[in-house]
């Protein structure tokens, strides 16, 4: 298989950057990817990020990514409505807190009124994170109800992914709120794989061309 490699440089203008990536990717024709080793901080270094198109590997990786994103720990804050979900069964959050414009709740029902910087000890207590919030109203980033195909497309669409370029998508895997899924507080089920495994799958998906699984 012929492979083409592109080194993604650091970009600053997010929308433009993703557009550039998209152009590059579409120009490549064959998707493939490799992943350069992470630096010691554990962060993916976009400087060294190489896209090597491989649709089979990409779809395979995304299927793993999907299981994590659709787990209660991720999906609960990416609901289809404006009320977050709660619990391993992803029921509507008791007391129905609303998203609000900035995703941080409304009036007396702001996320941080209950969700502290760290997990509150005990069962059925609010999990914590300094950034605890939903996606904002103008960029809802819904996971709930999305098929693998839809979710993959959405994640790569800057108009739906929070205007993230490739670099930001790469970095997002180490975001403190994303990582909170693996420190969910007492009694909550962890995502179906470790953060390291998720990160590997995520970066593999991106670096093989971020293919969306077939289907609707």
């Amino acid at each position: 298989m012929k492979m083409q490699m592109n080194v993604i440089k650091k970009y600053h203008g997010t929308v433009r950057a993703v557009a550039v990536v998209a152009v590059l990717l579409s120009a490549i024709g064959i998707m493939a990817f490799t992943l350069h080793k992470d630096d010691k901080s554990g962060k993916a270094d976009p400087e060294l990020f190489v896209v090597k198109k491989d649709s089979v590997a990409s779809v395979k990786a995304f299927k793993q990514v999907y299981t994590v994103l659709m787990s209660a720990r991720c999906m609960n804050c990416h609901p289809s409505g404006d009320i977050p979900l709660q619990g391993d069964d992803s029921h509507l959050h008791t007391m129905f807190p609303k998203r609000g414009v900035d995703g941080k709740g409304v009036y007396a029902m702001k996320c941080a009124n209950c969700h502290q910087a760290t997990n509150t000890p005990g069962l059925h207590t609010p999990p914590g994170n300094p950034k605890w919030h939903l996606p904002p109203a103008d960029m809802k980033m819904v996971f709930q109800g999305r098929t693998p195909h839809q979710l993959a497309k959405q994640l790569m669409d800057p108009d739906q992914n929070g205007h993230k370029n490739m670099q930001q998508l790469i970095e997002h895997v180490d975001d403190t709120l994303v990582k909170a899924a693996w420190n969910p507080g007492e009694g909550r089920t962890l995502p179906p794989m470790s953060h390291a495994a998720f990160k590997k799958a995520w970066l593999t998906w991106l670096s093989t061309g971020a293919y969306a699984p077939k289907g609707k």
Binding site: T94, M95, F96, P97, K98, V106, Y107, A108, M109, K110, A112, N113, C114, Q116, A117, T120, G122, H124, T125, P126
Partner: protein
Amino acid sequence: MISLNVNQKAYQVDADPNMPLLWVIRDIIGLTGTKYGCGVAQCGACVVHLNGEAVRSCVTKVSRAEGQQVTTIEGLSANNDHPAQVAWNEENVPQCGYCHSGQIMSAAVLLRDNPNPTDEDIDNAMAGNICRCGTYLRIRKAIHTAAELQRKEVKS
């Protein structure tokens, strides 16, 4: 020692920094208007204002409040005359009364952020406060009344 400012008064409290603000306020400072209802941020009986936000003091470590402005029901107004308090009296809201410190503190944030709340706004703001006596119809009515009082105050 932890420095707290509660109802515009400075306190130095000798407490475990992990102790919830609720118990510091009730058992150490001695202001008992803020209530214990569930201990897990389910019922809202413990709502106080932390820098103006309606935090659940039962899950808020006292360390989070250090150096910040805390307001309890006792400090909401000087003479029981915050528009919400006046409206609660006007509409005969409380029965047992236990939850209403928290209800009023939540309503006060709503009324500050939205001077003309709709029923839906009230639901959005107040669904975190449980009332076992079932005074919800009156809470809703009182918030509308308070909004009206507040608008009149602003005009005059």
